[in-house]
Subunit: 491 residues, 4 copies
């Protein structure tokens, strides 16, 4: 069984740490690889930072039009290897092939946007801001930037940061989730083919010790994190205590509101995709489905039918519509939360527990599950489940729905389905979340817009993607320049 | 003796706290007022936040073109009352009248820039980002924003934040320095004349307990701070641990490099203004003056002459060029640091200690002081003195100068005086500081540019002033909108 | 009877031209003033340009933060004199006082936006665009800019240009419509109170000869025009032949589409305001009202009622809802067009001709008029009437409506009334016009957005207002700067 | 001998016109191809426009992220075929291989910048611009855009426009110079490999009749032109008379000022490259070299030496430093202008006429030529020569130099060589030209900046490249949107 190597200073290196943890296929329980895991990964991290710091000296000085050239090639390589990468994602993370391809497409789009850095990095110039004085701004890179990415989008999330960080002249150290390190392992084999100086990007495997080492290393200037809210707050807090800039994205409990004037059939299909896509393991998964005025239960019925017919199984099979959750612990936690929902008064309308997938009996499978009648003040409508479980909530007006939406401690996403321009506008203006969908099930911002979590879904101020990426990964330098007239030399 | 009231919810209110501390004129030691100071100021703060939170509900919904109207009037009022305000600054803070007027001018410029918010708050729209889908961003306000301002610019620093915060739709609670609360007391009498809803801006007096109450209050969404680096880091750390966005500006130890190809006479005059302006009590004061290749000591001589003839005294006298430092503790600390410099091997070329100002014998006066021969590895060339004390350092090349500049733990400012375009460019590109001056003694960014401290001079990522102000005081909301063609209703 | 003076080089001057034309109150036929009109106004124009060219030498060099100061004061003066100016507009132009106030408010908003010029004029800077080379852009002013404004918005339209032109450092010569010169005469009395150097703004009265002199003067670098499409094209063509940059806005024939799912009562009230506001004499007046699926005639009925009860009369009376058209020639032309509509098969549903306004029998009054049954291929649905005349057109679907809208040769505005998000989106995306209203009757862009006429409604590329104003009134200067390392001088 | 085909609607087509003109290798006089030339090319043009208009219907609707995909591939194809294309440029246009590669690199950079269109095309959104009203801007494409490109940069200049035009959703018809059609012929063979719908880009050969057909065709909405000033003005004038938007770049007579404090050796080498590069046939060629204070003639001497040793010959030979001029007519015109210079009093310091290039005796060769003593008021210092001819002008101060620079009717470029920051700043601020070089010989803006000709060097307002390209090729559409609260439907 292979133990994964780190990619440091342009070379694949064995970790200093000999302890490992297993990378397990969630559909088959097959151990796919072993990944270094323990205190000595901190030494790996330190070595990667050292190389990154060294590389920064010249990389930060290279003209930006040259720095983006490897990104053009990276786009090509990602496209050329998309199927292979998608398969790896599916195997280590569980999602379907279509979903894996989709997240890679999003990754590529971030590479594309970062190719535009020569324009995006332009800063401001003002002539003659006072008599004979010019003032302007330069955007300079920070130095070594660190990234800690989660298990649910092994192929996409590092790309919310990496392309922007390096295009702006920083160097970059990535610690992927120890649960799904193989996708980035493959991506770094592609990166290895780029014309990038040694040390500009590095990959270091590990767990909490690696993370803490990154948070505490004085040469790491910025931290980008995606994970649970609890850890996000920890990252923000510890990174800040060390004086770093931090962007830390957390979890969510996303509501979708559906009004009767929406096209119910289309809408419920979209909503089912949103809820059960990636087996509910995404920070933009909808999990509270609010129906308004669904007096005849039409919407509920439609959602039920849509959920029921969704095929669960091993994602490598193209016909499969939903894969397993990441591991047994997660499966158990989801099950417990459903029980707790029932204890709170919930009624399980559709029960996906004990899903038996022929040939994959050991897989971490749970089929689409719908609970209704949950109390609004209870725990389950507030708790992130991170599995294919819908809370179905009936309310009587858009105002009640907004009140419910805004009682949420998180703020990643809120969506509405309606044909009414007025209702849509009211919702988009008042919903207390950073990514709003109008007749959209997964309101994931395109790469040119910031992925705008709010409240407990995000700690910091500058998000991933787009212009926020440029701002986060550069520091502004103001130059106030006077060339006194008297100094104009005569000859 | 008057005990200052708070301005909360549009009214002047007596503090809950009965303990006070004195506001003392640093030139005369006259007690000018008493300011609430103690644990119960936390209750005042809570009340102000409550009012601010309430005001936010409607203020945040008001069209931005209406929200800026009071700022136009505020500009007018500040201009009309400039002399009175300047006098107050001089009396409580010590600086000269010219300096007080100057800082008020900078305050007004920030009000002006924030008047442009209807343009600055515009966000991005993309039609048809995918088939039939539009995507756009809205900038919405955060809620209640808190500000903690320092003693050295009582009239200016609150305006790095206040105009941007309220123009973007937030409400704002200011805690001024308890050493210099009178300027803002007067400013809020002007603010009281504006057509601003109750609770949009509040003024709460106090000390550390007030600060902590602000840092811990869950409804305060953002903190703007200016002060020492030690406190700035504390603010950033504690604010972040509470999940807030924070911009915390700290201290500095700013170098100026002077090359022999500069016009020495003009340059040394400018440098003296930079060093001794505000008695050295500003985060952009130059305190390490590096001469390069000054073989004949011409620059040194010129600096010495310029420093020597500077008149120290009570700032209300228009002829005075430098006022006292803020208090006796500060005076003593500066004196101790000079002693320490001598212990390190420094030679006091010009000794401003024991300055006797006729008629103001009790004032906290120290005249311009120059130390030379300090070891580059010693403490004094690294320590912020915050008084009118120059370290004079001789080096042999611009490369040595840059190495010295970049060994600084801070990064507020670095300036160079030269007639050479090549040297200037090299310096501005490589100096590790956020505000660079080329033949400029105080590289203070105009209001439309961010005040860009680096390293230990700043914690966070978005600075005060200009576009950074807009970004800091708004949260981005992304809307992904689809109106399916099929939903285009027929009639 | 007063003959109006020009305002040239900071002084009120008698024109070289002795011939005059009358300024006539359209409600009373009272001659209010005489205005110079003839070939020798070209000499006035030349003199104003000469002064402007001279003033440009120093005005263009003044820091932008100083150049905007007079605009802050101008805002204040316009607000303080708003009632007097509104009355003047009503008296010379005919519209109601409410309408006059409204257009002045729009004027003031443009002054406000131009106050933000220190931010808006910032240009781009890129460090190290190639090894050691920096590149940046400066926005510099053009020189003398000329403006020719129409009769229908005497108080607003000059402000689409003037504040941007002078804030960016140009000097400005305005020729107002000879029909309504009094409003600008009063505005220039306010401008005279500003702290503006002589020659920065000038006012020259006259007619076609004045216009041609402006178009042909080699020192006039840019022309801003608003008027009929025929003249706009002439202006664009002749200005371009003389090498100038030109923005020339023309006429329109604006459609409003109303779907049955709109709130009919509210909508028809808004539409009536749009159609009959300013007696239909505005480039954003709606004149083709398209009903879709109005099978029971509800919309038609509602429009009829709304039109019928509109009170026509002298605008100085606050109760009056619609004033006269500009002159007898216009009145006659409108009447002839209605006749022509009848000849084409149109049926006059509501006939406003021969309106008798007690006490103002000589006024150029025509009451709201509605024609239906006009052939879509006829002349009247295509011809700008510039009077309070609706063509009422019944169609069967939004697609038919869009086809009709896009058959229009103009492209100033297209509006839709609907509650359907899908229909609104389709319309806004596909309607071939530059200003789109969704449930808005007069889709006039706010000052921070360009007034975006399309097709025959606009000639040029950069419109009035907002960022387009900045781009139009500045020329970009690119600086490519290298300071070879070897030139870094040693000492 | 091949007669070139047009590329229309995705296919190579024989022209309707049977008359042709020869494409001649300027070094060998070999006829390389025949190109359609005559009145019937107007029919070809009309056909291309028709196809483009049809293609526009769907291309303009395609999401921008999809529209840029072919540009990524185009970048790759241009890089892969760079040598072949460079050779073609050299053969038909005469410049050296290094120069040909250089211009292709610039072409590729424009493709890269246009790949960033998803960000660049974003427009502005403002929520709640008035109570409950949102306002935003959409950038929509214009339709069919036409381009007329000159002989001197056959590979680069079409790319100042094409990538921006199509990335923004327009369709594009290119008429290359009939003197150098082969480069674009090859480029379109690459374009043919892209996944672009038929009709999106077309290539139509021809001469003046083709141009006029483009200028007059009602479906062509915008014209981009580069050529002589005389023709540029004609294009602007005729295009405007037809109501189109036009950007028309003309000729130049570019000055370089050299001060004695520059490094003379480096500077003169750069200046020689600027002057003699492309045999002086570029709109950024320097032709008036102004020395200031060159009392000992050091600069003059150095320039003379640098010019003298430059090797003239057939560009395909890698050792050759300068190629021939475009044709015999041009050669003769240059010779005549030199004679005229002598008549004016000029002294030919270095005479490149009658250059004999062994093996290429028929080529249009003229070696580097330097004339001195030309009168400043004469014709030759004002006339664009478009050949390798320097006027050497001695002046006494930078003020005199600026006066001379600003007496120029053109305004493409002005450069200065100096080590003085003050002189450089004065020059860049005051020189009346749109592209300024500081110690740069050819101040060509990078692709992300507009190529900013001024005065007679440019007609219009929006230039080629960068953000100006986006603005020129899109029309702004403002949407004012209200969704009345009352319309929020209840259920």
């Amino acid at each position: 069984m292979e133990t994964l190597k780190n990619y440091i200073n342009g070379k694949w290196e064995v970790s200093k740490e000999q302890s490992t943890t297993d990378v397990v296929n969630p559909a088959t329980q097959e151990v796919m690889a072993k990944v270094p895991y323990g205190a000595k990964t901190a030494e790996d991290l330190a070595k990667a930072v050292e190389a990154a710091q060294k590389a920064f000296q010249s990389w930060g000085q290279m003209p930006v039009m040259k720095r983006v050239q490897p990104l053009y090639k990276l786009k090509q390589l990602l496209e050329d290897n998309l199927e292979d990468l998608a398969k790896t994602i599916t195997m280590e993370c569980g999602k379907t092939l279509a979903e894996s391809r989709g997240e890679l497409q999003r990754a590529i789009e971030n590479v594309e946007v970062a190719c535009g850095m020569p324009v995006m990095i332009q800063s401001e110039f003002s002539e003659n801001i006072a008599g004979g004085i010019d003032e302007f701004m330069i955007r300079q890179p920070l130095g070594v930037c660190g990234c800690i990415s989660p298990f649910n989008f092994p192929g996409m999330i590092p790309f919310w940061f990496l392309p922007y960080a390096i295009a702006t002249g920083n160097t970059f150290v990535l610690k992927p989730s120890e649960k799904v390190p193989l996708t980035m392992q493959k991506v770094f084999q592609l990166i290895d083919q780029l014309d990038l100086p040694e040390g500009v990007v590095s990959l270091v495997h590990g767990g909490k010790e690696t993370v803490d080492a990154m948070l505490d290393h004085p040469q790491v200037k910025a931290i980008s994190f995606v994970g649970s809210s609890k850890v996000a707050k920890y990252i923000y807090s510890r990174g800040a205590a060390n004086g770093k800039r931090v962007q830390a994205q957390g979890g969510a409990k996303n509501p979708i509101v559906i009004l009767p004037d929406a096209d119910i059939e289309i809408s419920t299909q979209i909503i089912a995709d949103s809820t059960f896509g990636c087996a509910g393991q995404r920070c933009l998964a909808a999990s509270n489905i609010v129906t308004v005025g669904d007096k005849n239960g039409t919407i509920k019925e439609s959602l039920y039918e849509s959920a029921k017919k969704r095929t669960t199984g091993y994602g490598l099979d193209e016909k499969i519509e939903m894969g397993p959750v990441i591991n047994q612990a997660s499966l158990k936690r989801i099950s417990t939360l459903i029980d707790q929902g029932v204890d709170e008064g919930g009624k399980v309308l559709l029960d996906g527990r004990n899903a038996k997938i022929s040939g994959f009996e050991k897989g971490n499978f749970i089929s689409p599950t719908i609970i209704e009648n949950l109390p609004l003040g209870g725990e389950i409508v507030k708790t992130e489940i991170f599995g294919p479980v819908i809370s179905l909530i009936e309310l009587n007006s858009i105002d009640e729905a907004l009140e419910f939406v805004n009682s949420n401690a998180y703020g990643n996403m809120a969506c509405i389905f309606t044909s009414s321009g007025a209702n849509a506008r009211k919702f988009r203006s008042q919903a207390n979340a950073g990514n709003i969908g109008i007749n959209i099930g997964v309101a994931a911002p395109m790469a040119q817009f910031p992925f705008s979590g709010w409240n407990e879904s995000f700690f910091g101020d500058l998000h991933g993607q787009g212009r926020h990426g440029v701002e986060f990964f550069t520091q502004t330098k103001i130059v106030v320049e006077r060339w006194p007239k008297e100094w104009s030399r005569k000859f």
